[in-house]
């Protein structure tokens, strides 16, 4: 009972932290300079990882599905399966988890280190709102960047899938793309891509919370980094289940 009470109390604190972040994002003054730094750090610097992972996953998925579909004479479905898998689920989820690992740990450890080395006190002693400067900018950057990174993941995976197929069957790029996009509609592309904004909110909030509230020296920095990745990843997976259900409810054709 006590554990449950602590868990819900913690969940309440994190939710309050995240909502405060969202509200403060619309309250001037706006920290444009720090926001752009975060866009660069979270978005641009994650891009190589996202592209490499997308390409590799595209190749692997294509190799796996080929073996099965060939048995049914359905190898023409490989590009369709590839795009459907990545646009609907794999692209958004894998992007969320990869960013949670790379960026979540960085945000958690970075802000915790600033807390431990009194940099946050130094910012506040200048009457600058450290929460807005350090946390809000990261939450907003994560919300905006995740859908864009997801697009890169989706298209890198298609590139990987095409590469794999081309090496085996010498399929033309035109034919591959025709088959890949044959069944793709805006309704099964836009909502799954935009749901990653929720993943971004989770990553920014959870890792910002662990970093901002640490008070245990260098051990706290380490714990903030680890907890940020673990809880962000877990919440992303749980949120994905709920969001997929929501998307199916709003766009019933996606469930077919």
């Amino acid at each position: 009972m006590e554990v449950m009470k602590k868990f819900f109390s913690f969940l309440g604190e994190v939710s309050h932290f995240g909502l405060k972040g969202l509200v403060d994002a619309f309250r001037p003054p706006f920290e444009w300079e720090f926001f752009l730094i975060q866009i660069e750090e979270i978005g641009w610097q994650s891009l190589p990882l996202i592209l490499a992972a997308g390409l590799a996953l595209g190749i692997v998925l294509s190799m796996h599905t080929r073996g099965t579909l060939v048995q049914f004479g359905a190898e023409a479905m490989i590009p369709t399966l590839q795009s459907a898998s990545f646009f609907n689920e794999l692209g958004p989820l894998v992007t969320g988890l990869l960013v949670a690992g790379r960026v979540g740990a960085g945000i958690g450890a970075g802000i915790a280190n600033m807390r431990v080395t009194e940099q946050i006190d130094a910012i506040e002693s200048l009457s600058v709102d450290a929460f807005k400067m350090l946390v809000v900018t990261r939450i907003v950057a994560c919300i905006l960047i995740l859908p864009m990174l997801t697009l890169f993941m989706d298209f890198a995976s298609l590139a990987g899938g095409f590469l794999s197929e081309y090496l085996v069957s010498h399929i033309s790029l035109q034919l591959y793309l025709d088959r890949a996009f044959k069944t793709v509609e805006w309704a099964n592309f836009i909502p799954p891509t935009l749901k990653t904004s929720v993943f971004g909110f989770i990553i920014g909030t959870v890792s910002g919370f662990f970093g901002y509230t640490t008070d245990e020296g260098s051990e706290g920095v380490q714990r903030a980094a680890t907890n940020s990745v673990v809880l962000s990843s877990l919440l992303i997976i749980l949120a994905d289940v709920i969001l997929v259900k929501g998307i199916f409810f709003l766009f019933p054709r996606n469930a077919l």
Binding site: M114, E118, D121, E124, L126
Partner: protein, 246 residues
């Protein structure tokens, strides 16, 4: 009528959970004077400094800066008061993703919006020259030694020409010569700017050089306040031991 005190604590209480950190602490520091706060570790010295700049609020009591109660003041008023306070943190607290120049420019950009970029650059150069770091303006904090970081932190604290300078453990982690150089800088600040200094330290030698008054805290209580000579004659053994150079 005497000048208003630069800093005044009136019956200040502060606790974290069940741990009492400051217990009915009252004292004042006159403008232009230097106060050193001595005490064993964990006796509330750094908390006292953070109360002076409004980073922490007391549970009860009054903290006045230039006669203005900052405990009950609005964010705007607190911001105006902070405009005249410099803070040198124990770890210098330089922003590690900024160059030294940007570290010094930030307070100017945030708290003195009247300055043009050229004026900010000039002010940064002047502040760095004052502490002997004018050739290191483009360096990152990670490239600086402990003593250089302290001097850089001091330059940042001074860049707005504060009337009150709060200094947390200026000599911690430094060798005696470098610590002495930091003390020299603090003495120069006091003399040239006429600034009021409040310094938390464990370094009795430094405290005796710089301070006009010394306050001794023990277990959250103020157990001694006066000049070094006065405190040497204190009835309190801890006070005598703390102010006597080893």
């Amino acid at each position: 009528m005497s000048d208003p005190a630069a800093v005044q604590f009136e019956h200040v209480f502060k606790a974290f959970g069940n741990r009492k950190v400051l217990d009915d602490v009252s004292f004042k520091v006159n403008a232009g004077e230097a106060l050193c706060i001595l005490g064993r570790s964990g006796t509330g010295k750094s908390v006292t400094l953070k109360l002076m700049i409004g980073l922490l609020k007391p549970d009860s009591g009054k903290v006045c800066i230039d006669s203005e109660d900052i405990v009950h003041s609005s964010e705007e008023d607190l911001s105006r008061v902070r405009r005249h306070i410099g803070f040198l943190f124990q770890s210098a607290a330089l922003f590690d993703s900024f160059t030294l120049g940007d570290n010094l420019a930030l307070p100017l950009r945030r708290l003195d919006k009247s300055k043009s970029p050229a004026e900010i650059k000039r002010a940064v150069d002047e502040a760095l020259e004052r502490v002997g770091l004018n050739l290191d303006v483009a360096k990152m904090p990670s490239a600086l030694s402990g003593g250089m970081r302290k001097r850089a932190g001091l330059a940042r604290a001074l860049v707005l020409h504060p009337r009150l300078l709060l200094v947390d453990e200026p000599s911690s982690g430094l060798d005696r010569i470098t610590a002495s150089e930091i003390d020299d800088l603090l003495l120069r600040v006091k003399k040239e700017y006429g600034a009021t200094l409040v310094i938390v330290t464990h370094d009795v030698r430094g405290a005796r050089r710089v301070a006009d008054q010394i306050a001794v805290l023990d277990q959250g209580s103020l157990i001694g306040f006066g000049t070094a000579t006065e405190l040497e004659k204190s009835d309190h053994e801890i006070v005598r031991r703390l102010v006597t150079e080893s």
